[in-house]
């Protein structure tokens, strides 16, 4: 189970910087020297602020973009050199789930067609009947109904559309799925449904997941390992549990400090104020975080710290001497009555049999408000 399925070495992607007929565009260093390893069966998360290069990295990993330099290996084969049948196999084995469940599905294709299309490509010999059965099975797997095959995307809610996207990604029987913010566009109640679904799939099908997200709660919940990105580079990587319990990089510490406390008690834990992220077309010298780092020293401006590992590390000159002062906002314990209520809710939504007690005298005296202001 612990063998490497995906490996990136010194990946670089620069956009622009060339003379074109509308003038010289500034060079954007979207991804700048990323190395990482994803193990088979794990859920690997990539987190970072908007513009730090997460989507670009995901596209490089899937070979939806050509890197400026560096290499990606999938199951020991170099992704950028494959072509022909090998490329087709690669496309089958690695699938993508997009952020926006509204624009990522062709509105003119029925759900059956959307989910069946990858089967036509990757299993052209499958009979039409067999394909229909397979589509029905996939729809059931993601919590939709086989009857839905005849409907069109606009007839579905956001969460249902994201399920259709997942069914489509599953159709080719992939080994690895990369999700670029797969739940960000969804309401929390629906988000929970999709998170549960992805957890089930990774467990039941042994899928490897690479999940990009900016919600740290989602990352903590779903992932086994996490890479924290800042301006095109990974600044910290490690087991999710450890990174959250013991963030080593000042940027990770700042990110974790901005997680809201979840119990409505006033925030005594004031987050670190960081100001603006510099532009990736003109990144700071040395450690790219030095312009916002509360611990920066002279050396940080000159010298780039490196991660030095494909799996676990911190790219900071001084991390060993930094005090960690970001206790996670663990919600205060709930009262017995409240705990009982949450337990009832869970039991009932997971299929328990609900019975209503006979009205009690206490209920009868409950004050009805005439005026609910």
């Amino acid at each position: 189970m612990s063998d490497v399925i995906l490996e990136a070495t010194s990946l670089v992607k620069h956009f622009g910087g060339s003379d074109s007929w509308f003038g010289k565009t500034p060079k954007v260093q979207a991804v700048d020297g990323v190395s990482l390893r994803v193990r088979r069966g794990e859920t690997f998360a990539i987190v970072g602020e908007s513009g730090c290069g997460k989507s670009t990295l995901a596209r490089l990993l899937m070979r939806l973009l050509e890197p400026t330099s560096g290499a990606v290996m999938f199951e020991g084969k170099e992704v950028s050199s494959v072509s022909g049948d090998a490329l087709k196999t690669l496309r089958r084995d690695m699938q993508f789930i997009f952020q926006d469940p509204f624009s990522s599905l062709n509105p003119r294709m029925s759900v059956g067609k959307l989910v069946g299309e990858p089967l036509e490509v990757h299993a052209p010999d499958m009979s039409a009947q067999h394909r229909r059965d397979k589509v029905a099975e996939l729809l059931r797997k993601v919590g939709l109904r086989p009857e839905h095959a005849g409907r069109y995307p606009h007839e579905f809610s956001g969460g249902q559309r994201q399920r259709i996207g997942i069914a489509r990604a599953l159709a080719s029987g992939p080994k690895l799925i990369i999700g670029d913010e797969p739940v960000s566009a969804l309401d929390v109640s629906v988000q929970a449904q999709v998170i549960n679904l992805m957890g089930d799939l990774s467990r039941d099908l042994g899928l490897t997941l690479v999940i990009i997200a900016h919600d740290l709660g989602v990352i903590r919940h779903m992932s086994d390992r996490v890479a924290v990105m800042y301006l095109g580079r990974i600044v910290e990587m490690g087991r999710t549990e450890e990174v959250f319990a013991n963030p080593r990089h000042p940027y990770t510490q700042a990110l974790l400090a901005s997680i809201p406390s979840m119990d409505g008690s006033d925030a005594a834990r004031r987050p670190v104020v960081l100001g603006e992220m510099p532009s990736p077309s003109n990144p700071p010298s040395g450690c790219r975080f030095h312009t916002r780092c509360p611990h920066a020293q002279g050396r940080c401006k000159e010298e780039s710290p490196t991660l030095g590992s494909y799996e676990d590390g911190v790219a900071c000159h001084f991390w060993e001497t930094l005090a960690i002062d970001t206790p996670l906002p663990i919600p205060s314990p709930r009262s017995d009555a409240t705990q009982a209520r949450f337990a009832l809710y869970r039991a009932a939504t997971e299929g328990g049999t609900v019975t209503h007690k006979k009205p009690q005298p206490e209920t009868a005296t409950k004050q009805h408000r005439e005026d609910h202001l």
Partner: protein, 338 residues
């Protein structure tokens, strides 16, 4: 309608309230906002929370008098701003009532910035309009506000046009503009949804600071319980156009009563319980036309029975905390066999 029953619990520091707001859009057979009452006091942040489509924005627009007059039918609603009352039925909220006192941050920032003027121009214009004073002072104020919403090199940004900024920056310009005139009341519709967590934390800090410095009252609309936990003094949970639970934020989090509130909280991934299967709110919100009679949540509620076919009224849990559910508190009325 005059508030009588609970006036003693709500002293005279109410900045804005709306009572029994009910409205629908032309051609619809159902109310989009149904008997919603809200109140914000001086120095208080009220968060209105609920899923997409539950009527949060429509409620805010109604308070601002910004719904299309021709296609909206308000059948009841009394708006009070610092003691001045206005019946919202078939009237247009006069600008004078809102005046300089209320500022609004809209959900979609691009539509509310003018693409053909610079950022500096637009903020300064807003400042001059409301406060008067010199152009230089207005520019100073613009710079100060841009810095306070966390925009780096604000001098440079002043001369840029909206399209030159990222979505998150535009959103922050909107926030700077809204807050530049020290409004007494801020209505903010999902102001931080598009922003990174570190920037979001900074904006929430700013709103908190203004609350404390100027006593600004805020109605903050959001679907993010994390934001609510971070900033709310009081909370109104909406479902299907109705307020199903409201009260002090600490009570809502410690002692949630409505199955929908409990469901929302159960859906949030918890930092201390990674990997645990999340409880969900089954299904999705029905369309306005398909809203059930009685409790609007009953088609998704695991505890619904025939009683839920009649509408539950908001009942007190404590004098400040109320819930609209026939079976609250669940542990007193429900048993579940697994």
């Amino acid at each position: 309608m005059i508030t009588k029953a609970h006036s003693s619990e709500y002293p005279a520091d109410t900045l804005l309230s709306v009572e029994n707001l009910t409205l629908r859009f032309r051609g619809q057979s159902n109310d989009v906002v149904d008997d919603v009452s809200l109140r914000v006091r001086r120095g208080e942040v009220l968060c209105v929370v609920g899923e997409s489509g539950c009527g949060k924005s429509v409620t805010a627009m109604a308070l601002m008098g910004l719904l299309p007059v021709g296609s909206t039918r308000i059948s009841s609603g009394l708006l009070k701003i610092e003691g001045e009352s206005l019946c919202l039925v078939d009237t247009v909220v006069p600008a004078t009532l809102r005046g300089n006192r209320i500022a609004m941050i809209f959900q979609e920032p691009m539509t509310s910035l003018n693409p053909s003027f610079t950022i500096g121009n637009q903020i300064a214009e807003a400042v001059l309009q409301h406060r008067g004073g010199s152009k230089a002072a207005a520019r100073e104020r613009s710079l100060e506000m841009l810095a306070r919403v966390g925009i780096a090199s604000p001098e440079k940004r002043l001369s840029e046009y909206p399209h030159q900024l990222s979505g998150g920056m535009r959103q922050r310009v909107m926030i700077a503009m809204a807050l530049a005139n020290d409004p007494q009341i801020l209505i903010a519709d999902e102001p931080t949804t598009a922003l990174d967590v570190t920037i979001q934390a900074q904006i929430l800090n700013l709103i908190r600071d203004l609350r404390d410095e100027t006593g600004m009252g805020t109605i903050m609309i959001t679907h993010d319980l994390g934001v609510v936990a971070e900033i709310a003094d009081t909370v109104a949970v909406m479902y299907g156009g109705q307020v199903v639970e409201q009260g002090p934020a600490a009570d809502i989090f410690a002692d949630p009563q409505h199955p929908y509130t409990i469901g929302l909280m159960s859906s949030m991934p918890r930092l201390d319980r990674p990997g645990e299967r999340l409880s969900i709110v089954p299904g999705t919100v029905p369309t306005v036309a398909a809203m059930p009679k009685g409790c609007r949540f009953r088609t998704r509620c695991a505890f619904a029975n025939e009683i839920c076919g009649t509408r539950p009224s908001l009942c007190d849990v404590t004098p400040l905390h109320s819930v609209a559910c026939h079976h609250a508190p669940l542990e007193a009325h429900i048993e579940v066999a697994v």
